[in-house]
Symmetry: C2
Subunit: 419 residues, 2 copies
Amino acid sequence: MSENRMMSLSALIKARDSGKANPELMVALSRDAIARKDADIKAFAHVCAEPAISTEGPLAGVAIGIKDIFDTFDQPTSYGSPAYAGHRPKTDAALVDLARRQGATIIGKTVSTEFAFLNPAATVNPHNHAHTPGGSSSGSAAAIAAGMIPAATGTQTGGSVIRPASYCGIAGYKPSFRLLPVTGIKHFAPSLDTVGLFAAGVADVALLAALLTGRDLGTDDEPAEPAKIRVGLYRCALLEGADPEMRAALFKAADKAADAGFDVGEIGEPEAMAMARGAHSDIQNFEAGLVCGSDLALFGNQMSEILAGTLNHGQAISPQAYDAARKLAKRGRAATRALFGEVDILLTPAAPGAAPLGLETTGDPRFNKLWTLMGTPVVSIPGFRDANGMPLGIQAVARFGRDKTLLSVAAALEQAYRA
Amino acid sequence: MSENRMMSLSALIKARDSGKANPELMVALSRDAIARKDADIKAFAHVCAEPAISTEGPLAGVAIGIKDIFDTFDQPTSYGSPAYAGHRPKTDAALVDLARRQGATIIGKTVSTEFAFLNPAATVNPHNHAHTPGGSSSGSAAAIAAGMIPAATGTQTGGSVIRPASYCGIAGYKPSFRLLPVTGIKHFAPSLDTVGLFAAGVADVALLAALLTGRDLGTDDEPAEPAKIRVGLYRCALLEGADPEMRAALFKAADKAADAGFDVGEIGEPEAMAMARGAHSDIQNFEAGLVCGSDLALFGNQMSEILAGTLNHGQAISPQAYDAARKLAKRGRAATRALFGEVDILLTPAAPGAAPLGLETTGDPRFNKLWTLMGTPVVSIPGFRDANGMPLGIQAVARFGRDKTLLSVAAALEQAYRA
């Protein structure tokens, strides 16, 4: 529907480092794009009027959008909830502070659904404004896809990074659990809440992660030995329920991986992993009832039905049922470790299909919940589209801690998919 | 020096349930004791003027002191820092909300050292006002020991629950990692920050944990089969550096455990666990630099030297050094699991000795850091004293998740020690 030229972080950094752009100009590009586009896209909950622009640090000049469940000391932080309208935290979330220390410009707060849960917000999908951008990191994904900013943060408790990335045709990266700090986000389920990142493409999001953390996560220097990388098309039972176009994209993704020289096969889902997926909801809802209990008590009358209902339900789950679910998760993690003895990268749909029509739902996280619970690193690789031109993301998964391998393989696959 | 009759939670609950006390009276007892004693002890940062008293719930009438790094929506929360003087969070920390839902009365906020780190606060040791009560949960431990309240919360990142419990002659319980929710505390090192509880004795603190969580953690119903419980005196290298009176207390503790019928032996410290202990500081300080980075940037000029210095030092630790420390911790956890195949309960000093003279330091957490990093449940068992009458705590440790066994064995040992 609309023409969106995305801002590539890698290209911007290269332009800056070669003297073709300076931090002032880089931030001005984003401010201008937001001013032109955001009235339609509604990706921002708040745009900073006079954002600090640093001339030093690896992220100098990079305008980053911060999901509005991360605390910011200088900008309102609403957690997507009317109960927190105009809320002003005393400090930045750890990741926001880290981004500032690396030179980034906190350009504004991107729209989150209420408490990063399922109640939809007003943001639209830049590829077709009648479709959802996904959630809960709706604003971050849409702002990247609409070409307003080159970098954004998100969080995932079910599928809130990978699903909107898939729907918006961008790269979403959910790192290994706790690789990025969660302190200062509005928690929903602490054993699941994972901070993630968005950028235009996989190399961009890998560069963002590398520059933020000082870790060796970039994709430039990876020696290409695809024949030694075992890529498995993940044959989970859910696959049968995916849209035909998504299934077709997944098989094409595996074929193109083989064409690119990777060692490609198929791999079934161990029973213990299927059972772990089934345990996600009890774990999430029990923890949400606990950590959002004070919100329910004080602000329950300002909550959506789906949020208040889930919190009440969570408080009714017994510790014994929660422990039983955690035991299933633990078994699932052991099975996941064993599985990654046989394969390096799993490919699976990032969502059941393209972004659903309408804004009444943010779509379905069923393909994402297991990997959030397992704590494994995941990237949504863009490149495929359905017959209507709506994006279809392929989800690549690696063993816990193998973020660099994941990102470098995913970057190579993305090139193959776009070719 | 002063006579302190402690309030036993078990006795209070029994009196309530048999109709001999009602919630109003129970709370009035604590309000009265605080009014009489706290000018000397300085355990409270804030006392609630009109605390809500519930007549329902398992903790109805229980006046609980909340360490001042837990958020409370109705009472100021200073995190022990002048930068947060008068700070009013929007909501309660998850544990505070849980306590309210179970009927407890949030009687006030107990003094924490600054950000729950090492800079001492003004609280004194009820057993001798010239001695430190320990830290960082100084106020909670002192308020219990002085007989002002029957229950209090704490947190431990190094030794901030077990050490003050030992110094104040009360029971401190650091549960298995994440058994109690941390959301809404001021984090210092999230992979270490553990919520704990204080009460007069082990049975009291076990009852508090059981009534708070709805879990089967009480010590009443445990069938006594001590001969089947393997208790090991933990022969770590640190032991040589402990005060002679503490070493003597530990050996006596093991002897009394044998007298009580437990299967007692000695057990050496695996090298991997000693190395894990050495990794604690890098993990703590790296994480503190990350999660308190915004505080350092905004409020560094209001920080103590030791806090600001530690945060600056933490920010200079490389991700590679942090990862190396985490790897040592992981190896230590594997060694700990293996060790608990040979033994059920380890006994070790809760601190190097009795509370040091003076208020310039909160004492030394060297005996506690390993168990915080391992995530194992720990109880400080009171009962022993040095020649000056100052308390000496014995630290009992069990395998991750074996909190009930730990508490029931510790309760039996406490009886033996007091006998």
